[in-house]
């Protein structure tokens, strides 16, 4: 018979007591698992929002005058007037962007990597109202704005076509099939966009060439949106390189804007971890307390073990075995409870986030719970070895 078998039999006999002792450990690991799971869900939510923002990089002429935005983010201003990005800079922009991504991800792919979507914004009178006409590369634009949905009609697939934002269609009373004229150029509405909740709702989208021709702005662009293919892409480095190498262009990394949100998440994480730390401490004290009580309850058994030849080390080891068991049970229960907690609280903190089981947190939870239980056991165990055998029996 081995010592761990003696401990196991004793734990089975006192199972209710042992479960009671695990409560503190469960609370501690539950808090930590809950915090980690919620934080992960929050991070995923922010990443998915980043995806939704579309562009990872926005290139603007260096001069500002008119506010514009993408999604809910304000991206600075563009000048709809004298200052433009030269269209002939696009190959250079692509070269820099793809080059940096290749370097960062160590890929050799010779093809185009990033999606580059140029836009020319002009103010135009349509049906005697002033609207912003956006000349776009239809293919690139649809890749960048993956959330766009054509509510009526179809997407742009030829010249002289127009795609109207939902609010613009309503205000100008436009529907699919309507024709209108801008600066002598005849355009036909082929589709109406679903509501996006952004500035796009107020705009009319037309193939880039049509706008450039009608407004005599050949080779000119107002903005260029760039979407790298991954969240890990070095957008800040790309922005720096473009800013340095192409004069007259200001590159803004959307991630820099999102970084504020990430920074906030990090702060929340730190706060929650601090709370988790306090909970760990309280949980630890709870375990020490329960185990101290347990020592007193088992003072006779400890006396018996010592009387028949147990050394101090063996008594401490017996307590540590029990702590490991408490830790394993507490870690598993804490993982389950923490994940449940994240399911309930996660969506309240990060609206729309999806909380999921994170399997890797199970061993973390168990390891943490075992460490707490073992540390909390050491003092009661040491205390137990100090009791004289005669006193163990006298107390009974």
């Amino acid at each position: 018979m081995k010592l761990h078998q003696v401990v196991l039999k004793d734990v089975v006999r006192r199972k209710k007591r042992v479960l009671y002792a695990t409560v503190g450990v469960v609370i501690a690991s539950m808090t930590v698992v809950g915090i980690l799971t919620i934080a992960l869900a929050g991070r995923a939510r922010i990443y998915s929002q980043l995806e939704k923002y579309g562009a990872n990089l926005s290139l603007l002429p260096a001069t500002k005058s008119l506010d514009t935005g993408l999604g809910d983010l304000t991206l600075g201003s563009v000048t709809v007037g004298e200052n433009y990005i030269q269209e002939d800079k696009l190959p250079q922009i692509r070269q820099i962007t793809d080059g940096e991504i290749r370097r960062a991800l160590k890929v050799e792919d010779a093809g185009d990597i990033a999606t580059i979507a140029p836009q020319l914004l002009v103010q135009a009178d349509v049906k005697s109202a002033s609207v912003i006409l956006a000349g776009i590369d239809p293919v690139a634009e649809s890749k960048i704005k993956s959330w766009w949905q054509v509510a009526k009609g179809k997407y742009l697939d030829g010249p002289d076509q127009a795609l109207v934002g939902s609010t613009a269609a309503e205000l100008l009373n436009m529907s699919v099939g309507d024709a209108f004229e801008v600066k002598g150029q005849n355009l036909t509405v082929v589709g109406v966009l679903g509501e996006t909740g952004s500035g796009d709702d107020y705009r009319i989208f037309v193939p880039l060439k049509a706008v450039q021709t009608a407004f005599d702005k050949q080779g000119l662009l107002s903005t260029v949106d760039i979407r790298a293919l991954c969240n890990a892409c070095p957008v800040e480095i790309i922005a720096d390189a473009i800013n340095k190498e192409i004069p007259g262009i200001r590159a803004v990394a959307v991630k820099q804007v999102a970084a504020t949100e990430m920074g906030m998440l990090d702060k929340i994480n730190k706060l929650m971890m601090a709370l988790g730390g306090i909970t760990l401490l309280v949980g630890g004290f709870g375990v020490v307390n329960t185990l101290m009580t347990s020592v007193h309850e088992r003072i006779r058994d400890i006396g018996i073990m010592k009387a028949v030849g147990a050394s101090r080390r063996q008594i401490i080891v017996a307590f540590i075995y029990e702590a490991i068991l408490i830790g394993i049970i507490g870690g598993v229960l804490g993982y389950g409870a923490g994940t449940l907690l994240a399911y309930i609280i996660g969506p309240l903190i990060f609206e729309g986030s999806t909380v999921s089981f994170v399997a890797v947190y199970l061993p973390i939870s168990i390891a943490l719970a075992v460490v707490i239980a073992v540390v909390a056991t050491l003092y009661p165990a040491y205390h137990a070895t100090k009791i004289r055998i005669a006193d163990c029996f006298r107390a009974v």
């Binding site: 018979m1 081995k2 003696v6 009387a307 028949v308 050394s311 101090r312 029996f393």
Partner: protein, 221 residues
């Protein structure tokens, strides 16, 4: 084999101190069966605990088999409890979560040896072969005490100490337990037994009577 020289034990300090043993001296030879008698509070259990290394003396010395026990540190006392001295208690003191056999095996567990055969053999000798898997709560008082005696013998000690082993039993069961001790003594085992039982005292070779912590009589049967 065992020399107890001028042993005193004082609990507490100053005016509130209590003298439990006062200058106690006697010897026990190998194979001898000694009964310690006296009223409650006479110091007999304290003396037994000090001999067994379960408690410390204040003054004096105890020598077992040529080795002084009173100045040993805790780890050396552990070795003595494992190899040389075993204990039988009035309350049996079995671990409730273990079976009879496992309780007998417990001293071997702490020594790091596995000798199921020896433990089973002792249980059979105690007439408990068929009760080996029973928990203490499933055994009678007499049976529990036999398990405790088997446990005390499993390490083959030099000296067995028994603290009122029949104190919790009716006369018949107590007598059966005393028969067992007689048998063990006849096999050459050295026994010191604290008892109130005059029958037990009659069976011993020597009866040491304590009063207020002092030896007041030594009767050789």
């Amino acid at each position: 084999m065992l020399e107890i020289k001028e042993v005193s034990k004082v609990y507490g300090q100053g005016e509130g101190s209590v003298v439990a043993l006062d200058n106690v001296s006697f010897d026990v030879d190998k194979g001898e069966y000694v009964a310690l008698m006296g009223h409650s509070g006479s110091g007999k259990s304290t003396l037994l605990n000090i001999i067994g290394g379960l408690d410390r003396l204040s003054v004096g010395s105890i020598v077992l088999d040529g080795q002084r026990l009173d100045n040993l540190d805790e780890s050396e006392l552990v070795r003595i409890r494992r190899d040389k001295i075993s204990y039988v208690f009035q309350q049996y003191h079995l671990l409730p979560s273990l079976s009879a056999l496992e309780n007998v095996l417990l001293p071997l567990t702490f020594r790091g040896v596995d000798r199921n055969g020896r433990a089973m053999e002792l249980l059979e000798k105690m007439g408990l072969g068929k009760r080996a898997t029973h928990r203490p709560s499933q055994l009678s008082g007499g049976e529990q005490q036999r398990v405790a005696i088997a446990r005390a013998l499993v390490n083959d000690p030099l000296l067995t100490l028994a603290d009122e082993p029949t104190g919790n039993m009716d006369q018949k069961t107590g007598s059966e337990i005393l028969d067992l001790f007689d048998q063990l003594n006849a096999e050459g085992r050295t026994i010191i037994m604290v008892t109130h039982n005059p029958d037990a005292a009659k069976r011993a070779h020597k009866v040491i009577v304590l009063r207020d912590g002092r030896v007041v009589d030594c009767i050789v049967n």
